[in-house]
Structures are given as C-alpha cells and as structure tokens.
C-alpha cells in the first residue's frame, strides 16, 4: 500500500463489504443471492474510480450499499474520516483481513483478538455500515447519487424548482431565497436557464433530465458522487455533452466520483483507476491505461477483447468465452470464474457439479472405447460438501485394481485434451467396497484473494498466488498479449 506524501488523502475506504438478498418464495426462504460478496477498495479525494462489469456482477448494489440506501450484510464503509485516523484504520483492517485469509482454519485468536479490540471503537465511531438512519443523514450531505434512467429519477408530480431544492431544504439550513438563488445558478451551470424552474419533468428531453438530476446532486456541495450508469440511456451526442459537464464539475469542485458503468469506452475516458467486478467480487483493480493494456486477470482480458472498436482496420484478437454468467444465488466454488476461464488451474475451484457432465461424456464408448469393457454406468452421484463424485455401475466389476488402472489411464488421456484441466483436479480414485463402482475425490479448491501483484495493480486470481514452490506464475504472459498494444 504506497502512501507517499504527494498522494491526496483517502476519502472513502470500503473493506470486506457484503450484501446478500434473501430469496423468499412463499414463507420459507430458499437460500441467498450474494450480490456483493466481500469487496475491498479505497478512493482518493478528487479521483474517479470506475467500476465496470456485466449484468448481475453487483456493481449497482455496491453503489446503493455505499450510499446506505440499503443496509450491508457485513463489512465496513469508512467515509469522510480525518486522514490520520483513516491511515490507521486502513492499516488495521487490511492486517485483520490478511490474517483471516491466510490461516483460514487454524485462526490463532490472540492476534485477531488484539486487532479487533483496537478496531471495534473505530468502527463504532466512523464506519457507516451499522449506523442508524439519523446518524447517516449527516453523511448524506457529502455524498449524493446520480441515476441511469432519466425518466424515473425525477418525481413526475414535482416542479424542477422543488426537485433541485429538496436536498438543500432537508440537509442544509439555507433560507428559501438562498435556495432559489442557488437553484438558478445551478441551472445555468448545467446549461439550462431560470425559466426551466417552473416546468414538470415530462416537458424535458432525456439529456436535460440527466442535467437536472446532476444539479440536484451537486446542490449541497457533496465530496463524493456515486454515478450509476449516468449516460447509458442517452444518445451518443447527448452522452458526450453530459460527460463533458461531469468533467467540468469535477475540475471546478474537486468532487470524487464513483463511476459505475458497463460501457468500457466511457469508463476508460472518465476514470483514473478502474475496478472490474464479476459475480459480486472485484477481480482486478488498476490504473486505467495499465488495466486496458496490461491486464492480469483472464476475465478482464476476455471482457476487454470483446469490446468492438470503432475502427475497421483494427483486427481484435478475440477471446470468446463460452457459456453464460452463472446465477449469483448459487455461484461456482473457489474462483467464481473457473468454469469459463480459458487458463484455469486444477486448484481453481473445480467441484463435483462441474465434473458430472464431463464424466458422463468420458464414459461415451465412442470417445473412450477402452472403457467399454467395464459394466455400463448406472448412476453418477454428486456430493458437493464431500467434494467427491460416486459412479455406480449396473453390475459388479471382476477386479477393482484393474478397473482403477483403466480409469486412471483414461483420465490421463482426458487431461491431455485442450480443456482437460478439470480432470487434473482429481486427487484419487477409491474403488467401492462392493466392487460395483468407484468414488472420485477432488483436491480441495483454494479461494483467490485480491493481492497487490504489482504496485497499484491488484488482481484476484490463483495464477498469481505463487502456487507452492513455483515462484514464476505460469500465466504471467497474459499481460503481454495486450490486445491494443499497437
């Protein structure tokens, strides 16, 4: 964590933030949607942090949780804390997290204990996550949202004058004249004029409504703006106007932006640093140009290579991912991206449910004729918790050892195939005592954590977790195949 002097101090620090939504159908609830699943990052004053990801990656929920429009399930949000306190908090919190992650099982309580003792009072004082509505209202003065859909972010029954004035009326003790004067100035700042005050929202175009929403947000001089897809619903020419205004406002007022979007081109233009999210976790966070040219995480590579480029001469060397984004209510084990990852390792999180399909095809006698001498497969039982798969034959086998040899040979063959990495996650084959089948035990998957691989460049991928003994990460070259290094 470089904290050299010339850097501005940190305005917002979010650690291990989680937001789970219960799924309720009828009376009993069936599990939980892990919209935000342990996110840690910080933002410096006047900086724009871009948050990018596809649908269902949790970026909007993250924005709404930070704004405390919804209550977080776990984790802390430190905002507008005196800089020295903040330094101390960040040190303690990151130390605590590293302790928890490293020795997950044999947690030596003493160390964690001391850290917690120090942190609890700080959390009570500064962290927004478990504050009551009244206390949070003070912080609302200095953080405001800007939303995506221009047509649902303004109250159709209210005049523009009252819409812009609402935050001032509720959060400041300005007199009505002051408020009216300030509203007029704000309107001219965003390119509308005073008469627009006495109009209803339905009398404006999409672009003009976004400007009114922005005027409302900056009316009380906030230090942080959370912009959730501010220009996604707009046409290109109108989007350019809004983005320019956002830049002017930031230059003039030094406001920090949390810029959430799924348009990577807009993100690259607006953000100083970018965080890429996938299924509720940050998979990579880095300075903008570094991320676009020198990305580390395989998902970032695939995501950036999928963007069409407005120049017919650039031929993009595309990494096309198969399959669809899994549902956040039941994410894959270990690294959430492992089922679709082109460079996955055996340890990345392969679990029995990933294996049942491939095992089925393995027993196809066209594919592996040598297996046809074994009896026909009756049933494949997946045991997620036990991390094992049991395969039952129709009848018993002559000799278990012979069966194990044949299967091991076939598995080696499968492992050599292009996406045979799944089979390399098989630890051992245990023949069933009754001889009519066998159980496959898989190696226990590891969970990747956001690590600072290079200064200021974080990634959460087991490729860089310096697997036992192998110092040079196998896939370090993913950065070099920069898609755009022309």
């Amino acid at each position: 964590m470089e904290s050299d002097k010339n850097q501005k101090n940190i305005v917002l620090f979010v650690t291990n933030l989680k937001k789970y939504f219960p799924i309720t159908s009828g009376f009993r609830n069936k599990g939980v949607v892990k919209a935000v699943d342990g996110v840690t990052f910080w933002v410096r004053e006047g900086e724009t942090l871009g948050i990018v990801g596809e649908t269902g990656c949790g970026k909007t929920t993250l924005g709404r949780t930070i704004l405390r429009l919804i209550d977080p399930t776990d984790g802390e949000i430190y905002y507008d804390v005196p800089s020295d306190e903040m330094e101390n908090i960040i040190k303690l919190e990151t130390e605590l997290q590293e302790k928890k992650e490293r020795d997950g099982e044999n947690k030596n309580d003493t160390e964690v204990e001391t850290l917690l003792k120090e942190l609890i009072p700080l959390r009570k004082k500064y962290s927004l996550s478990n504050k009551s509505n009244k206390e949070i209202i003070q912080k609302r003065k200095i953080m405001q949202p800007v939303f995506q859909d221009p047509f649902s972010s303004l109250d159709p029954r209210k005049l523009v004058k009252d819409i812009i004035a609402e935050p001032m009326k509720l959060l400041t003790d300005m007199s009505n004249e002051e408020i009216e004067k300030r509203t007029a100035d704000l309107l001219s700042e965003i390119g509308l004029n005073e008469d627009h005050m006495y109009r209803f929202p339905h009398e404006f175009s999409g672009g003009q409504r976004q400007r009114i929403g922005l005027a409302r947000a900056i009316s009380i001089e906030p230090k942080l703006l959370v912009l959730d897809e501010p220009t996604s619903a707009l046409d290109v020419s109108v989007q350019a106007q809004i983005l320019n205004i956002l830049k002017d406002v930031q230059e003039r007022r030094g406001i920090t932006y949390l810029f959430i979007s799924h348009h990577l081109s807009v993100i690259r233009m607006m953000s100083d640093r970018v965080a890429v999210m996938y299924l509720g976790k940050i998979v990579e966070l880095a300075e903008t140009d570094r991320l676009f040219t020198d990305m580390l995480h395989p998902y970032t590579k695939a995501l950036l290579s999928a963007i069409p480029v407005p120049d017919p001469k650039t031929k993009v060397q595309r990494v096309v991912l198969e399959g669809e984004i899994p549902s956040p209510s039941d994410p894959p084990k270990g690294c959430h991206f492992h089922p679709r990852c082109p460079v996955a390792l055996p340890v990345c999180g392969w679990s029995p449910r990933d294996m049942s399909g491939p095992l089925q095809t393995m027993f196809d006698q066209f594919r592996n004729p040598e297996l046809s001498i074994l009896p026909e497969v009756n049933e494949i039982v997946v045991d997620e918790d036990g991390n094992s798969i049991e395969i039952k034959f129709v009848s018993a086998v002559k000799s278990s050892d012979e069966m194990v040899n044949i299967i091991n040979k076939v598995i080696e063959k499968e492992q050599s195939l292009p996406n045979g990495v799944k089979f390399r996650s098989i630890k051992e084959i245990i023949p069933a005592p009754t001889g009519d089948g066998f159980t496959i035990k898989l190696i226990d998957p590891k969970v990747p954590h956001l690590r600072e691989i290079r200064p200021g460049h974080f990634a959460s991928c087991l490729l860089y977790d310096a697997p036992e003994g192998n110092t040079q990460p196998e896939f370090a070259d993913v950065g070099k195949q920069a898609a755009y290094s022309r």
């Binding site: 709404r64 509505n133 405001q144 995506q148 109250d155 159709p156 959060l171 008469d195 006495y198």
Partner: protein, 334 residues
C-alpha cells in the same frame, strides 16, 4: 410537448404550474367527447342534489317530513292504482305517480341528494382510509404489508352485497343511532380494502422508482417519502377508481334499500325505496277505473322511470371514469 417546441415558445416567466397542468388535463379531457358528455350529466345530477339539499323548498318537494305533509294535503289513503304519466295537473305528474299517489318526478329529484350524498361519503371515507393504509403497507412492506394483505384477502372473500347486508343489519342493532348512518358505515368498512389493495400495488411500483431513492439520499425520512413522493403519484390511479366506484356504490345503496332496508323509513325518498314500493304493481294491469277497460297489461312506470334515472347516472359516471383513466394515464401524458 417536446423540449424544443417549448424553447420556441420562449418560456414565460412565473405562472401557476398547477393551473397549467389542470388546463392541459381538461383540454385532453374535452377532446374525448363522450367522456365530456358523461361529466356534464354527472355535474347536473350533483347540481340537483346540491340545490335540493340547500334550498329544499325551491323544488317544491322538501325533505321527508314535508313530503308527507304534501301528501297529507292530498288524500293519502291507499289509492286505487298509480296514475300513468300525464301532462294534466302540473309538472309533479309528468312522470305519473306510484303507491299512495306519491308523484314520481319530485321524489326522484328529492332522492338524488340522499343517493349521491351518501355514496360520495362512502367512497371518500373508504378511499381515504384505504389509500393511507395501502400506501404505507406497500412502501414499508414486511410484516405490516403481509397483515394488510391477509385482511384485505378476508374482506375480498365475501361478495360485496352479502357482506353489506350482514354488516348493515348487525350494525343497526349495535350502534345506537339506528337510522341510515349504519348502512353508510357498513359500506365504508367494506369499501376501504379496494383502495388499500389498489394503492399498495401502485406504491410497490413507485417505491422502486429512482426518484424515491434520490429523495432518501437527499435526507428525506421514510415517512416523508410516503406522503411527499409516493402518495401524490398513487392518487392519479385512485382518482379513476374513485369515479368508477361512485357508480357501483349508488347501485349497491339502491339495492339494499330495494330489498327492504327502508333505510330512512318507508317513505324515505331514495331510488331503491321507490323501486321497492313500485314492485308489486308491475304484475297488475292498468285499468280505466270507470269503464274497467284494460289500458295496459302492466303498471310499469313506478319501476322503469326511477330505474332509468339511476341508469343514466351510473352510465354517465362510468363514461367520465373511463375518460379520466385515458387522460391521467402517464403514457399519454408524455
């Protein structure tokens, strides 16, 4: 009205925005002609009801007691048979008479104030309670929402009229007053769940809209959100249901009176009551008392004429309600 059309108009300075909004609504409303006709007829009905309530003597037939006095003036004995509509003997008899020679035309005019007055009261009370309960339940959700939903389920599981009969007849024995108040209270108790469920549904959709979240971010408390942002937007849908319900409440009110509730006593001027009095006569032939000659096989006017006035009112108010729904429908507004 698109933005640059507005720009062309050079944006006048301060003008009363609420009035402007009302004018555009009226302009749109007038365009749908039949709805406008519906509104005119409804206004006429309310005018008569108002006039009669405020200046009873103006219409010649004052309220209940004076109507009886008027009758006493005439021989009130059970008349041989109701007189058919004739132009003889002043405007009282234009629409004929019913039992005891009660003239139909003035009794209808006198009864409007009770019919419309009480149904307006019922729907207004029902809407007020229903909207408040429904909006709060819809916005806060959770256990409160679950309870309100279960209660409205129970209220919806009994057919309106059966529930109205049970409530009215029990309330009349429980409440001291005894007169028509208990039917009004009974119908109000039945009517609020309709508005509760309607405003709950609307509150759920509005709650998810971003301007409510923006208000929360601007420091507005949840309760303030309900009254400042959610409820005004719920009212447009409620207003349409309000006008449609006026029509159905009048029907139920007349129905109760028709089956014999005699809410204000036997001679209480109310359309349902008139129909109740007139019912036995429809099977009797209309004879020329002197010659015994059969003039018509049925004495239809004590039934048909009050019914037509009731029908015209309900049709007119339904036309107005449909017209309002199209005008207030946000999609058309843009």
């Amino acid at each position: 009205m698109d933005a640059n059309v507005f720009a062309a108009k050079g944006g006048e300075k301060k003008r009363n925005p609420g009035l402007d909004n009302f004018i555009t609504t009226m302009k749109l409303f007038v365009k749908t002609r039949i709805a406008f006709v519906g509104m005119i007829i409804t206004l006429i009905y309310f005018l008569i009801a108002l006039l009669d309530a405020v200046y009873p003597q103006y219409l010649g037939v004052t309220n209940l007691s004076s109507m009886l006095a008027f009758l006493h003036g005439q021989s009130v004995s059970a008349s041989a048979q109701p007189i058919a509509p004739t132009t003889v003997g002043g405007w009282y008899y234009w629409l004929g008479t019913t039992e005891y020679n009660i003239p139909i035309f003035p009794s209808i005019l006198a009864s409007l104030k009770y019919d419309l007055g009480s149904s307006l009261l019922i729907v207004a009370l029902g809407a007020a309670t229903g909207v408040i309960i429904g909006t709060i339940a819809g916005y806060f959700g959770g256990l409160l929402d679950e309870i309100v939903m279960r209660i409205t389920d129970i209220f919806f599981s009994i057919p309106f009229l059966v529930f109205a009969i049970a409530m009215a007849v029990i309330l009349s024995r429980v409440l001291p007053s005894g007169s028509s108040i208990d039917v009004i209270i009974a119908l109000t108790i039945i009517w609020w769940p309709i508005y509760a469920r309607l405003s709950r549904g609307n509150a759920l959709t509005i709650k998810s809209l971003k301007f409510v979240e923006a208000a929360t971010a601007s420091g507005s408390s949840r309760m303030r959100n309900v009254f400042v942002h959610v409820m005004p937007n719920v009212l447009s849908a409620v207003f349409v249901q309000f006008s449609l319900d006026l029509g159905s409440i009048v029907q139920i009110f007349a129905g109760l009176d028709f089956i014999g509730f005699h809410i204000g006593g036997v001679f209480f001027p109310e359309l349902g009551n008139l129909l109740n009095i007139g019912q036995p006569y429809l099977a009797q032939p209309y004879l020329n008392l002197t010659t015994g000659q059969v003039l018509s096989s049925t004495i239809w006017w004590p039934i048909v004429i009050p019914g037509i006035f009731l029908l015209i009112f309900t049709v007119a108010i339904n036309l107005m309600g449909d017209g309002l729904r199209d005008v207030l429908d946000p999609k058309l507004r843009r």
